[in-house]
Amino acid sequence: MNENETATARRTKPALEVYRCALRNQIRDGLLWGSSLVCLVLMVAALWPSLRDSGTLNDLSGSLPGGTAEAFGLQEFGTPAGYLKGNLYAVLVPLMLCWFGISLATSSTAGDEDAGRLELLLVLPIGRRTVFLARSLASMTTLLLVGIVTWISLIACCALFDLDVSFEGMASVSAMVTLLAMLHVGVTFLVSGWGARRGAVLGITSTVMMAGYVLQAFLPLSDALKDWAQVSPWQWALGADPLSGELDLIAAAALTVLTLVLTALGAQLADRRDVRSV
């Protein structure tokens, strides 16, 4: 091993240890959130055959004012894709995944700092930026695993309960909601890196999350404001209706790049400030 390889190994090995440790600590949370998402998908999918056969689904979406149905993703509620969108992917699944990502990232940054648990890690021979980046990678890995489990459960449930949705549509919507949640992990790392305490981080990031949803859901109802919906990352993720269409690669790239930029910025900010004492 030459000198450069040794230096690289010296830098990457501690990062890998921090990553592994953070991942181990998040597994239990991942299992709990993964299970609840699987249960949700299973419950919604299991109701489809009886609701479809009753013939009332189209009546339900038809009875709502046009704007309301659109805001809550209830258009075409009588089709399999519309049913899944209205019940799962317009609000609930992205909201749960985003909140899961926010709580994971907050716990591994501002939460640990407030509790004084970061101090002993940050006096070891490892850079503060490396610790933050390794922990953000661990949060995103856990989130990705939960996203994959939810996607697999969707595939299984659609097959089991006769929901005719394309494989590409299921993959696209799962990818987009996971990327949307990862963006919120990035926002959390930015706010934590800046130095906010746990409560403030949760407050700011959940406001960002809800603001994103509101902009995407309600601005399109106004002709004057509908173009502003484009500022919402929810619009990037779900605006092209990924469940029934193809993956919007540009939107996916935008979400990914923004996540990386916010995370890197958070790590940089964390590196330049004081670590809070207990």
């Binding site: 501690p14 509790a115 002993l120 890690l121 070891l124 021979p125 670590v275």
Partner: protein
């Protein structure tokens, strides 16, 4: 020889509160350096800056010649125990130490295992169920296990039972014998007195005394217990001496406190017949309290 720790004009403010005010501090290699001061004097703030957790608003500090906040690799050469020690409750003792071992890049774990035995702690125990003292032991093992060149210890024996305090002092003495440097902040003055060569006293963010322990205690009031052969004892002669205070007579014995060189007292005693005289070494406690009292008086003014 190059200083291990060197602070020049080190200043730290939290809002309008000045925690450290232009601190100059130098710690040479192989020294056990006692860092003393009343609560809120700025001891922990100094130590946190030396390990790179906080940054000064003015001045600079160097550890092994490098800025601790921007030199993570340098931190492989130091071990640190914080005053408020918090461990990850989701891990075990062994898991915690193993993580630190791996991040430090240590390949030799014999000394770590020896410390686990000496501090009598089971590596399989969950951190969640540990008492304050046992958590402190884990922190101490983590700091000592790599045999770092510099140990920075903030109130390291808080919560330790007397037996474990002895183990801690033995580990410090081992480090001292091996020529390693220790910066020890402590309220337990007897332990500082036992292991430290040099001490510094901090008060309101400023250094008020620094030097060898023997020099620091030199000016401290000495206690004398003088037993005369017979009554009457020369109490008036003694009381008139400028260095004498708290003169107390019990039969043929005179107890008193003395400040300064004792020549004039010895001159008086030389004119009388003595049965015995005791003058125990002044304790660091005395010196510390003197600085502390000065601080209180200063604050009152």
């Amino acid at each position: 020889m190059e200083d291990i720790i060197r602070c020049e004009g080190l200043t730290k403010r939290f809002g309008t509160f000045t925690a450290l005010d232009a601190l100059d501090l130098r710690v040479g290699p192989g020294t056990v350096f006692g860092y003393l001061g009343p609560n809120g004097a700025g001891k922990s703030t100094t130590l946190r800056m030396l390990v790179g957790l906080t940054r000064p608003v003015a001045g600079k500090c160097a550890v092994f010649g490098q800025d601790p906040a921007s030199s993570p690799a340098m931190r492989a050469r130091l071990g640190y125990v914080p005053g408020e020690l918090r461990l990850d409750d989701r891990m075990t003792v062994g898991g915690t130490l193993e993580l630190w071992t791996r991040i430090r890049g240590m390949t030799e774990t014999k000394y770590r295992d020896e410390l686990l035995q000496r501090f009598d702690i089971d590596p399989g125990r969950a951190v969640r169920g540990l008492s304050t003292g046992n958590r402190r032991k884990v922190g101490l093992i983590g700091a000592f296990m790599g045999k770092p060149e510099l140990l920075i210890l903030d109130e390291p024996t808080n919560g330790l039972d007397p037996l474990m305090q002895q183990q801690f002092l033995a580990a410090i003495e081992e480090a001292k014998d091996e020529g390693r440097t220790v910066l020890l902040s402590s309220h337990v003055l007897s332990e500082v007195e036992r292991v430290a060569d040099t001490v510094a006293v901090l008060r309101k963010g400023r250094l008020v005394a620094q030097g060898r322990l023997t020099d620091l205690v030199q000016d401290v009031r000495q206690t004398f217990r003088i037993q005369f052969e017979s009554e009457p004892v020369p109490v008036d002669e003694i009381t008139r001496l400028p260095g004498a205070t708290e003169v107390e007579v019990v039969g043929t014995t005179v107890n008193l406190r003395w400040t300064g060189a004792p020549e004039s007292l010895l001159a008086v005693l030389g004119r009388h017949r003595l049965r015995a005289m005791r003058a125990p070494e002044p304790e660091l406690e005395e010196a510390f309290l003197r600085f502390y009292e000065d601080a209180t008086e200063g604050a009152d003014r």
